[in-house]
C-alpha cells in the first residue's frame, strides 16, 4: 500500500505597531533584508559568517536607498505645496 502524509502548516506573523508616527527606515530595511537573506540555522559556521556579512551589506544598501527615497519624496511634496501657496508647510516638510 502506498502511504504519504500531507500536512498543512500555518506560520506565525509578527505584528509591529507605532504611536504618533510611522515606522522608521531601519524597520523597513530590516524587513526587506529578512525577505532577501534567509540564513539557515544548520549552516556551517564559515558559511554562516559569510551570509551574515552579506546580510549586513544588503541591509546597509537598502537603508541608504530608503533614506534617499524619503528625502526625494519630501522634496517633491515640499515643491508641490509651494506651488499651491503653502510655503510655510513646504519649508517645514523639507526640514523634517
Amino acid at each position: 500500500m502506498m502511504k504519504d502524509n500531507i500536512d498543512f502548516g500555518l506560520g506565525q506573523v509578527m505584528v509591529s505597531t507605532t504611536n504618533s508616527g510611522g515606522h522608521d527606515p531601519e524597520f523597513w530595511a530590516e524587513q526587506a533584508t529578512n525577505k532577501i537573506c534567509g540564513i539557515s540555522e544548520q549552516a556551517a559556521p564559515h558559511i554562516k559568517e559569510q551570509a551574515l556579512a552579506f546580510r549586513a551589506a544588503v541591509y546597509n544598501v537598502i537603508l541608504a536607498g530608503m533614506r534617499s527615497a524619503i528625502a526625494s519624496d519630501r522634496v517633491t511634496v515640499s515643491h508641490k505645496l509651494k506651488e499651491i501657496g503653502h510655503s510655510d508647510v513646504a519649508k517645514f516638510i523639507k526640514e523634517l
Binding site: N5, D7, G9, H23, K35
Partner: protein
C-alpha cells in the same frame, strides 16, 4: 470567545475544488483585524464583521493583501504575502482573518497575535514570515 491560530477546515476542501488561487494577480485576498471578543479558528468558514476591530482610519473588511505566487521549497509548497500596513490608525486588535475577497469571502486562516496589539495614530504592520518550508504563512507538505 477566542481567536485560535488555524488553517480553516473549509479552506482545505475548497483548495481541492479550485476555489482559491494564490497566484499573484489571480484571486484577491484580504486581511481583517479582530478584537479579543472574536471567535475565530479552524471552524471559521467566511469573513464576519462580528467583533471586527474598529477605530480611526480602519475600514471594515480590512485591507487587500498582495499575493506572492506560491512556490516549492524543497518538497513543501509555500504561500506568502507582502507585509501589510494599516497606516495612521488608532486601533487595538488581538488577531486577524485572511479570506478570499474574490470568492464569497471564504476564509483561509485565522491568526492569534498572542495578545492585544495597539497603534495610536501610527502604523499597524503585519509582517509575514519568510516563506521557507518550515516557516511560511501557509505550507502544504
Amino acid at each position: 470567545m477566542a481567536i485560535t491560530s488555524a488553517i480553516c477546515n473549509s479552506f482545505k476542501q475548497e483548495l481541492l475544488v479550485g476555489t482559491h488561487n494564490f497566484t499573484n494577480g489571480a484571486n484577491s485576498f484580504k486581511l481583517a483585524l479582530y478584537t479579543s471578543s472574536a471567535s475565530l479558528g479552524a471552524g471559521t468558514t467566511a469573513y464576519t464583521s462580528s467583533n471586527e476591530t474598529s477605530g480611526t482610519n480602519y475600514s471594515a473588511t480590512g485591507s487587500a493583501l498582495t499575493n506572492v505566487t506560491p512556490v516549492l521549497a524543497s518538497t513543501t509548497a509555500v504561500c506568502d504575502f507582502n507585509d501589510l500596513t494599516f497606516s495612521n490608525v488608532t486601533i487595538t486588535a488581538r488577531g486577524c482573518l485572511i479570506y478570499n475577497d474574490t470568492n464569497s469571502d471564504k476564509s483561509v486562516c485565522a491568526i492569534d497575535f498572542g495578545g492585544d496589539k495597539t497603534s495610536t495614530a501610527g502604523d499597524f504592520t503585519i509582517v509575514f514570515p519568510t516563506p521557507t518550508a518550515s516557516g511560511a504563512i501557509i505550507r502544504l507538505a
